[in-house]
Amino acid sequence: MAKQYETVIGLEVHVELATKTKIFCGCSTAFGGAPNTHACPVCTGMPGALPVLNKKALEYAVAVGLAMNCEITRYCKFDRKNYFYPDNPQNYQISQLYLPICRNGSVEIETKEGKKQVGVHEIHMEEDAGKLLHGENGQESFGMEGLGEGNCSLVDYNRSGVPLIEIVSEPDMRNAQEVIAYLEKLRMILQYLGASDCKLQEGSMRVDVNLSVREAGVAQLGTRTEMKNLNSFRAIARAIEGERKRQIERMEAGQEVVQETRRWDDGKGESYAMRGKEDAQDYRYFPDPDLAPVAIGEEWLKGIRAAQPELRTERMARYRQAYGLPDYDLEIITGTKRIADFFEETVRLCGQPKKVSNWLMVETFRLLKEHGMEPEEIRFSPANLAKLIRMTDQREINGTVAKAVFEVMFEKDIDPETYVEEMGLKTVNDEGTLRRAVEEALAANPKSVEDYYKGKEKAVGFLVGQTMKAMKGKADPGMVNRLVKEML
């Protein structure tokens, strides 16, 4: 019988914090921007420049720690991690080794197998590095005069000094489903806190997977590898499956699993070794003498706790109570902070929770899926959705027209009132006009009228449809229905 194996997974998740300025200087953290335009003496490692901690970064890190049930370290200090690389302008990274800001937390995840606690070993703060651009043999001049002669690399320090937290989990996960559930939970918490936008593609959330395999029932952990370059949840799941398989194959072939860092190539669906344990650098960590330690006071901590925004579960409970929405709706509406915020604002404007929920759950998600978009990319405003709902409520437009208008609104962010006015889409509910239209429909379809008198009730529907068609869909369907029956 084939042996049973258990996979043991722990994650290191780097998250860019959503501060407006960098962690140790006043430069902007905005993504993009011409190279080295968000840079200053501090984040380019100029001689004599000194770091000063951005309080907001500390606030976010503590808020994340509190949301993940961590102990908060009351004496916040930083250490230097020394290593030479051109994207690291000081050739040391300011990080936290000896006293991470948060420790010993946990988050609850839910998979098909049920609920489970995943331990959070620690959360520490650090600065991001810059970005290298490599040119080869003069092929690349980076659009700059005089460059591109021979081999050439350039460095952009815009990202250097962007605040990061590294969330290190305990090795508590056993499969890809749990890992994805954990990451989704993390993302939810971070987004609800406003601490990060967690975009894997833009690198504002980076995941390293530590994975080992052991025979079922064995207590001791196997040798682990660390997997890097995982740019989507799909890649993470595939890498976990791939690495599990690779390690089991080695074990079954009687080979040892080597402790090493591997790089995932999602295109090829395989990984290769980057560096082994023996290549591990001595980072010579020591306390950064440039940063005076910050003592975290009870009052300050209380302030952070009090200002802690509602997380998902709290928001679900509130919506359930205030709006009486069914659980199914609540799950979807609070699934991302963006949709929840959108929902709340629209309800505030038009006061129709169930209708707002329906528009978001059905039409919005259908169109997002069709366009391959994320909720963060929604262009139309809550105000315009509120207008659309009000117009249908007041029977200014009928349902079919509303859906058509919504599609335009989704794509072009138009004002539905102006659009309906300009396109002449308002529902016709003038009795005289409608009577004339019904008369014409009856006259044009004598066969159907005859059918009706023979007892075929269905003919009514056909005649209503013909009238609506003649009215280009803009007639009030209720009125047309009544008039057809009356006039037959």
Binding site: G48, V155, F286
Partner: protein, 493 residues
């Protein structure tokens, strides 16, 4: 003429800033070839700035006690638009686009920047011999070193090549050259002067301070550079930084402790005599002088060189040939570029300390060296706390001997490190201390007196130093020394 006296005359329109600048430039022209106090002087720029400064003084923009005074700045303080080399080949082409906060403060005080002074490379050394730009000679005797690392600043003040100067002190780098050159130097409480723009050597120990002709100038210049700076998180918000107000001849009842362990076997006999005489002078003026045991002095040297080297090894990593400064030619790949640039760009003493610092931070050695050094630092702080519970001022020598000849110190680095024994504990404990001349040895070389105060007690130090200076009488400048030796070096304006 003191800096304050010059400023008074400028204010009274007896002298113009341009005349003062011209006098200094002429002096530099005359003496630089011999003394070599400066790495960079741009005479035309100085003349132009002197004229501009005069206008602004006339407009009433600068009314402070040092407005118009020509000042020299140690070359490890960044000066916007002016080359800042740290006396290293590594930064030979480095022109900062920002000024150190201390430099901005002297500009706000209306002072005139004359040039950048020579120093030991990256402030690592006690003789200014490790500079990549040649040695500086002691104006009292050109065969001897001016001390270091702020040797250029101290020598420039002594030689009259400026009216005052800024230095930096990590383990005695202001006080020891001030002692060797017979001028007054002060290291303020850690955090008093912003370190922003001071190219770091040992970040937890570095402090910018004044080097001047007398105690009053020193108080005025310290007042000008002291400031809270939000760009430096180790900078302190201090009150009572009106240091000039402390200049009173009054030590009546002042409790002065003299550590017995500072007068041990390695202290030169003539230095011992001069320092003891200074203690007696203060006693005669009404101070209560008492001997006591401070302890730990010999451990200080080891702790200091461990901590300073550790921090330096990391601080100097940024000099890699990538972003600015020196890059070697003919390298193959990144690793080789780092290796060649740093091997060729740094001098021997800097490399020695980088290696030492790298070693003490390495895994497996961290606890035994770096952590242990931090413990010694904490003990040292405690020893001083205990002493300051009894005394307001601690009095002792600055250095074990007067200025050595060239080559004597560098030949034995350990001996050179040991010569910092009286100054480094002050940096480890973050205390203020002042160095001022208290006599000359039989060779005619100045001897330095060191007064150490508790944190934030610069005023007490200045009062004691001022009282001693008045009692001592005019110390004079190298002119007399030169004449006595029958030489022709040096004269004063």
């Amino acid at each position: 003429m003191s800096a304050l006296e010059l400023a008074r005359r400028i204010k009274a329109k007896e002298v113009s800033v341009a005349e003062a600048a011209q006098a200094v430039l002429e002096r530099i022209e005359e003496k630089e070839e011999l003394y070599h106090c400066y790495i960079t002087v741009e005479p035309e720029a100085v003349r132009r700035q002197a004229k501009e400064l005069q206008k602004r003084i006339d407009n009433g923009e600068f009314t402070g006690p040092l407005a118009g005074v020509p000042l020299a700045v140690k070359d490890n303080l960044c000066t916007k638009g002016m080359r800042t080399t740290c006396a290293s080949g590594m930064l030979g082409n480095f022109v900062p686009f920002y000024s150190a906060e201390a430099v901005r403060n002297v500009e706000k005080a209306g002072m005139l920047l004359v040039g950048k002074t020579n120093m030991d490379e990256f402030a690592m050394g006690s003789t200014t011999e490790t500079s990549a730009y040649g040695v500086t000679r002691n104006p009292w005797n050109p065969e001897r070193v001016p001390g270091g690392s702020s040797g250029g600043s101290a020598a420039a003040v002594a030689a009259g090549e400026c009216f005052a100067a800024l230095g930096s002190d990590t383990g005695g780098s202001i006080r020891q050259p001030a002692a060797y050159c017979g001028v007054v130097g002060m290291k303020p409480t850690y955090g008093t002067v912003s370190r922003y723009g001071l190219v770091a050597y040992g970040s937890s120990l570095d402090q910018v301070g004044p080097i001047c002709k007398d105690v009053a100038d020193c108080a005025a210049l310290l007042e000008a550079i002291a400031s809270y700076d939000e760009k430096d998180s180790t900078s302190l918000r201090r009150e009572n930084t009106d240091f000039a107000s402390a200049l009173k001849e009054d030590v009546q009842g002042l409790r002065i402790g003299v550590p017995r362990d500072y007068f041990g076997a390695w202290l030169d006999g003539e230095v011992k005599t001069a320092v003891r005489k200074a203690a007696e002078t203060l006693q005669e003026k009404g101070a209560l002088v008492e001997e006591f045991d401070l302890g730990l002095a010999e451990y200080g040297v080891a702790a200091y060189y461990t901590i300073a080297a550790a921090e330096a090894s990391s601080n100097l990593e940024r000099f890699d040939g990538i972003k600015y400064g020196f890059r070697a030619e003919g390298y193959e790949g990144l690793h080789d570029m780092y290796k060649k640039s740093r091997s060729e760009g740094f001098g021997a003493e800097v490399k020695r300390r980088i290696m030492l610092g790298t070693f003490v931070l390495s895994s497996g050695y961290y606890d035994a060296y770096y952590l242990k050094a931090l413990k010694v630092k904490a003990l040292m702080k405690k020893a001083f706390e205990k002493a300051f519970a009894r005394y307001e001022v601690i009095l002792g020598p600055v250095a074990p001997a007067t200025a050595p000849k060239f080559g004597e110190s560098l030949a034995d680095p350990l001996q050179m490190y040991l010569s910092d024994i009286y100054t480094i504990s002050v940096n480890l404990a973050g205390l203020p201390a002042i160095s001022l001349p208290c006599g000359k040895d039989s060779k005619g070389l100045p001897v330095g007196l060191q007064l150490i105060g508790d944190c934030f007690q610069e005023k007490t130090l200045l009062r004691a130093a001022y009282t001693y200076e008045k009692a001592r009488g005019d110390f004079g400048l190298p002119k007399e020394a030169a004449e006595r030796e029958g030489g022709s070096h040096g004269e004063t304006i």
